[in-house]
């Protein structure tokens, strides 16, 4: 196997997995919060928040990457503050995760939000009457009921993160072993005449990983749905 892929490609595979997993895991709680706020709370600026969340979807990825570079780079207003706190994204794999997470965020939020909106508020009311405070109602009633939505959102985000390229390379460039993800590697091969075969190998790996994750999520979601339906 190692012969089939060069060490640099293996690195890219490993890195992509790491980046996509981190992006998904870290953005999940935030995505949940934002989705809940958009679905259930009415506050001034709600539409603004909604718009901002969708921005990475609307903007060409390069623009998103450029904006990340300007704001979260070590010289940027946010990035320089974070640097003081010891958090550096620029040229790190964490930056790749930030870029992938940002791009995937709107997908995750939409999926979770739709499933929150589908939960019957009467069930939450029942939990309240039984003495559960709001946060626990969320944890014990809402959360388990939206689990299929959360899984769908997470897997969408993961898949998107696996494929994300434009924002990532613009923000953290392509440093083999640090920020060279699978899509960057694929892109590189596609720039060179006659390297389509090498690109194809990486595409296959990428597809295999994402499909495995997808299948796992489907199985999980089905099991949950069955349990809720009471069979």
């Amino acid at each position: 196997m190692t012969g089939w892929l060069g060490p640099q490609e293996w690195q890219a595979v490993a890195l992509s997995l790491k980046v996509s997993s981190l992006a998904t895991l870290v953005s999940l709680p935030l995505g949940l919060l934002v989705a809940y706020a958009l679905a259930r709370w009415r506050f001034p600026g709600r539409q603004l928040l909604n718009g901002i969340v969708h921005l990475p979807l609307i903007l060409p990825p390069v623009v998103t990457g450029y904006l990340l570079l300007l704001s979260m780079g070590t010289q940027g207003p946010v990035g320089s503050l974070l640097k003081e706190a010891g958090i550096i994204f620029a040229f790190r794999w964490t930056g790749a995760a930030l870029a992938a997470g940002t791009m995937a965020f709107p997908l995750m939020v939409r999926a979770i939000r739709l499933s929150i909106e589908a939960v019957d508020p009467k069930l939450e009311q029942a939990a309240l009457t039984l003495g559960a405070p709001r946060p626990l109602v969320f944890a014990t009633v809402t959360l388990p009921l939206i689990l299929p939505g959360i899984i769908a959102g997470a897997i969408l985000a993961f898949a998107k993160a696996m494929g994300e390229f434009g924002a990532t390379i613009t923000f953290v460039s392509n440093i083999p072993g640090q920020t060279q993800t699978l899509p960057s590697a694929i892109y590189s091969f596609l720039q060179i005449p006659g390297q389509e075969g090498a690109a194809l190998k990486l595409v296959c790996i990428s597809v295999a990983i994402a499909m495995t994750a997808l299948l796992a999520s489907e199985v999980l979601a089905q099991r949950i749905a069955k349990r809720v339906a009471g069979r």
Binding site: T129, L130, P133, V141, P144, L145, G230
Partner: protein, 362 residues
Amino acid sequence: MTLSVRLRHGFGGFALDIAFEAPPGLTVLFGRSGSGKTTVINAVSGLLRPESGRIAVDDTVLLDRAARIDLPVHRRRLGYIFQDARLFPHMSVRQNLGYGRFFAPRAAPGLKPDRVIEMLGIGALLDRRPGALSGGEKSRVAIGRALLARPRILLADEPLAALDEARKAEILPYFERLRDEVQIPILYVSHSATEVARLATTIVALKAGRVERAGPARDLLADPAFTPTGIRDAGAILSARIVAHHPDGLTELDAGGQPLLLPRVAQPEGQVLRIRIAAQDVILSRARPEGLSALNILPGTVAAIRTGEGPGALVSLQTPAGLILARLTRRSLDAMQLAPGTPCHAVMKTVAIAPDAVGPAR
């Protein structure tokens, strides 16, 4: 503990404007479909915020819109049995039952889970999910969930509607126990004469969003002018003390010095019972009748007569045991020449006093 409720609320075409007091015991909310019963219960639970009003249990104010007090739902310590079961679909029956318990203070008084599960007959369902339950099973689990939350107020919206008679008969005593032993205020919506007669300490009758009648159940039920479940279900409530359990399966009571026989009850000798005698089941006779299968005969005098539009009439008879209601036709009324003050006998069959019309006195 007394629950006092004053509410005003409007939904488009429907306006609710009510005030009542629910003294200790069980208050039955009575009224036709759409009269506002669920709305009242929702307001007490805090799930509905009325446009104006005040709700308090003794000195604890749950809601006072004028004073901007609105205790959050989860701090009201309720047991709410919803009209629709509203079980948590993702939890097993066991988890549903345990949900409220988890949030209740340990020290709060309440029924034991095993007993509740047994009386509801849901022991075999504990590991199922609500999706796999029958309609009646769901409503039983919903009752159990509310009872086990060790509530400080119990709200029950037609809790027994989906159940068969036998099951109802098994569950009713538990509401009695809650009423008599745990002593929490209970708001109970029901259309059933049996349930009203057996459980109600207080009755609040709603009509199109307003209180039509309200007061102690004993007074209201002995009033020939008040027949909430229809004249057919009218009936008075008496108190009587157990004198003896006879070997042939009958129990003898002393009702104001008069003997009354009824099918054996579980309570010990000496205990005072509340018994309901349906107006339907009472035959009147000027002379003391002989040779009938009916074993109970109470002498008395006619106290009041109500004739309605139909051919029937309700007569209330003052007996040593208390006021009794009897229903008969106007033709009989005339034939027997009954009028207030006329002495006459009430004849009741032993079996007419069903076990579900007998309960501990309040």
